[in-house]
């Protein structure tokens, strides 16, 4: 499977340009046991791990792009290189005309990186005090600072949370405050690494709608990684699928489904609940009078026609399979091509 060329930016010249980006780590390794430990003292063997391997894409201003891939696929490493935390092994990156890892002040004032598993807020003091610090650090004019805090407080329903010590907040409340702190300087680009990690469904939805609203209001560009498919479905028209550090797909979410799913799902409610529908396709589930059939995409029309002609039916819908299934399919195909017999990668999407 070859990487698809980047989707043509819909809205003007790219704001992010990534070309042949690579990042390798050397990890020291040794076998188990004392003898191996002693040998490792004298000679350490290192293995090269390609975290990101030759990735090319561009992002247009105002786009929301979702990065998908299992754990260890290279999503976070990519975001870290784009934000400037990591120095790549090879390739070029241009974000807003800057080379990120030079970490020029002018660049840092235009971006933000939010990591779901790390905090930037001071643990022991109320978030509002950390906000004040960010105001000074990012040189935010007082007037703009006040209006931004007001806006974020309203959008994220922060209210009283801002005045409690951060350590007393729940995980979700803390994430809301983290997001607000990261956006006080109105960055043009948001790098969000698992922003909904560990949050309950309601809070996930709140964060999601906030990100969408922020993108709409300020035309901010958002690059997002998430394990929750719903995040990606709700926010990103465009997805980039990364696996083993390589780019497997870059394009519209809908295209991902049509390209990688060779099946369609037909949900049928026959009048006679006992009727056998297996001649029309593979029966996936049959519960409470609803039967779900999987049919090869090319045969969808014919199968539907035959069903309607030969079985009395109360209701029938044709659907794309769930996106999770499609993603698993993508990784499964890649494994097959790799000839990787272990295939122990869980599609954590």
């Amino acid at each position: 499977m070859s990487a698809t060329p980047s989707a043509t930016p819909a809205r003007g010249a790219p704001i992010i340009r990534v070309e042949r980006l690579r990042k390798s780590y050397f990890v020291h390794e040794r076998a188990a046991g004392t003898a191996a430990a002693l040998r490792a003292l004298v000679r350490r063997t290192a293995r090269e791990v390609k975290a990101v391997d030759d990735i090319t894409f561009t992002v247009a201003p105002g786009e929301v792009v979702g990065f998908l891939g299992p754990n260890g696929a290279g999503k976070t490493t990519t975001l870290k290189m784009l934000s400037g935390l990591l120095h790549p092994t090879g390739g070029e990156v241009d974000v807003l005309g800057h080379t990120p890892w030079k970490r020029e002040k002018g660049y840092l004032r235009e971006i933000t990186l939010v990591m779901g598993n790390r905090n930037q807020l001071q643990w022991d003091i109320p978030a509002v005090d950390s906000f004040e610090l960010n105001r000074a650090i990012y040189r935010i004019p007082q007037e703009q600072f006040r209006s931004t805090v007001r806006e974020l407080t309203e959008l994220l329903e922060l209210g009283e949370l801002l005045h409690k010590p951060v350590r007393q907040l729940s995980l979700g409340e803390r994430m809301k405050c983290e997001l607000a702190a990261s956006l006080l300087h109105r960055p043009k680009i948001l790098f969000l690494d698992e922003p909904t990690l560990g949050l309950d469904v309601t809070m996930q939805r709140r964060i999601r709608s906030f990100i969408a609203e922020y993108n709409r209001r300020h035309d901010a560009t958002v690059l997002l990684t998430s394990h929750y498919m719903l995040d990606v479905e709700a926010l990103c028209k465009r997805v980039v699928v990364i696996h083993h550090g390589r780019l497997l797909f870059d394009g519209q979410l809908s295209e991902l489904v049509s390209r990688f799913s060779p099946h369609k799902t037909i949900v049928v409610e026959p009048l006679d609940a006992e009727v056998d529908l297996s001649p029309f396709g593979e029966v996936v589930t049959a519960q409470e009078g609803r039967v779900t059939l999987r049919v090869p995409k090319a045969e969808t029309a014919r199968a539907t026609e035959r069903l309607l002609a030969s079985v009395p039916i109360a209701d029938l819908t044709v659907e794309d399979p769930p996106i999770e299934e499609v993603i698993e399919q993508v990784f499964a195909e890649e494994r097959a091509e790799d000839g990787d017999p272990v295939a122990a990668v869980t599609a954590g999407v």
């Binding site: 890892w101 930037q120 022991d124 950390s130 610090l133 000074a136 650090i137």
Partner: protein, 267 residues
């Protein structure tokens, strides 16, 4: 400059709020700072008495003055960054700070100064109490008090820059504590912390003049006690300035190399 002042003001407020959260810890650390000078003072006073009233040119009351001044000066110039830095790297809290448009060193300067400002409230009365008990003797004139101010400021800058650079070893290894122990051991003798440098063998005194440690602690104390000639004070200030310049360059280079290493292996 105005911008940096604004950052310092905001950081000071945060640092103050943070440190007031841990008042008990603050007092315990402070007590440690008080106990050791008292021990040293007592031991050396006994030695002075046993050797006919003075040792290395210091009488009992002069030793008292030395250790009380040393206690206050050391409190003002000491840092704890080598303990903190390793933690910052390992916990991953350094990474987000690298993405802020202000150098992380400023936070540590403010944090340090805030702690000093807070604890001086206890430190000065403690020094006063010790003075009442041990009856120190000073021979200080006004110009020495005036010279003490830049000597103290340069000592602070020197200690801060050296120890901050040293802490950056944390970028390469997570065992900074071991290196730090080695540095501390040398510093205890060569800085005048354990005893006035005049008590060292002459050869070691020469070494102490060359190393930076004296300029980061004993020198301002000696200036304040009026033990140095005008010429010695002037050349001492020059030595401090040279070391500060050198330490600044070392800090810049280590920081650059350290961050490069950090962002190569995984921030």
């Amino acid at each position: 400059m105005a911008v940096l002042l604004d950052v310092y003001r905001a950081q000071f407020k945060v640092a103050l709020a943070l440190q007031l959260q841990y008042r008990v810890q603050l007092v315990i650390w402070l007590l440690f700072g008080l106990v050791q000078p008292v021990v040293h003072l007592t031991v050396w006073s006994v030695v002075a008495q046993a050797s006919g009233g003075s040792v290395g040119g210091y009488s009992g009351p002069e030793l008292a003055a030395y250790f009380i001044a040393l206690m206050v000066v050391n409190h003002l110039v000491f840092t704890w960054i080598t303990y903190e830095f390793e933690f910052l790297v390992r916990q991953g809290t350094l990474a987000p700070r690298l993405l802020r448009p202000v150098h992380p060193i400023h936070w540590h300067v403010v944090d340090n100064l805030t702690y000093k400002a807070l604890t001086m409230v206890v430190m000065l009365p403690a020094a006063g109490l010790m003075a009442a008990i041990f009856r120190p003797e000073l021979h200080t004139s006004w110009w020495e008090v005036a010279a003490f101010v830049p000597a103290l400021a340069l000592a602070f800058a020197l200690r801060f820059l050296i120890e901050w650079s040293f802490a950056l070893i944390g970028f390469w290894t997570t065992r900074v504590a071991a290196f730090n122990q080695a540095l501390d051991t040398v510093a205890i003798f060569m800085s005048g912390y354990f005893a006035p440098l005049a008590l060292l063998p002459p050869q070691l005194q020469v070494v102490a003049n060359v190393l930076p440690f004296r300029w980061g602690l004993a020198f301002p104390v000696e200036v304040l006690l009026g033990r140095l000639s005008a010429g010695e004070v002037a050349s001492g200030l020059a030595a401090q300035a040279i070391w500060v310049g050198l330490a600044f360059v070392i800090m810049r280079l280590t920081w650059k190399a350290g961050v490069k290493q950090f962002s190569a292996v995984g921030a």
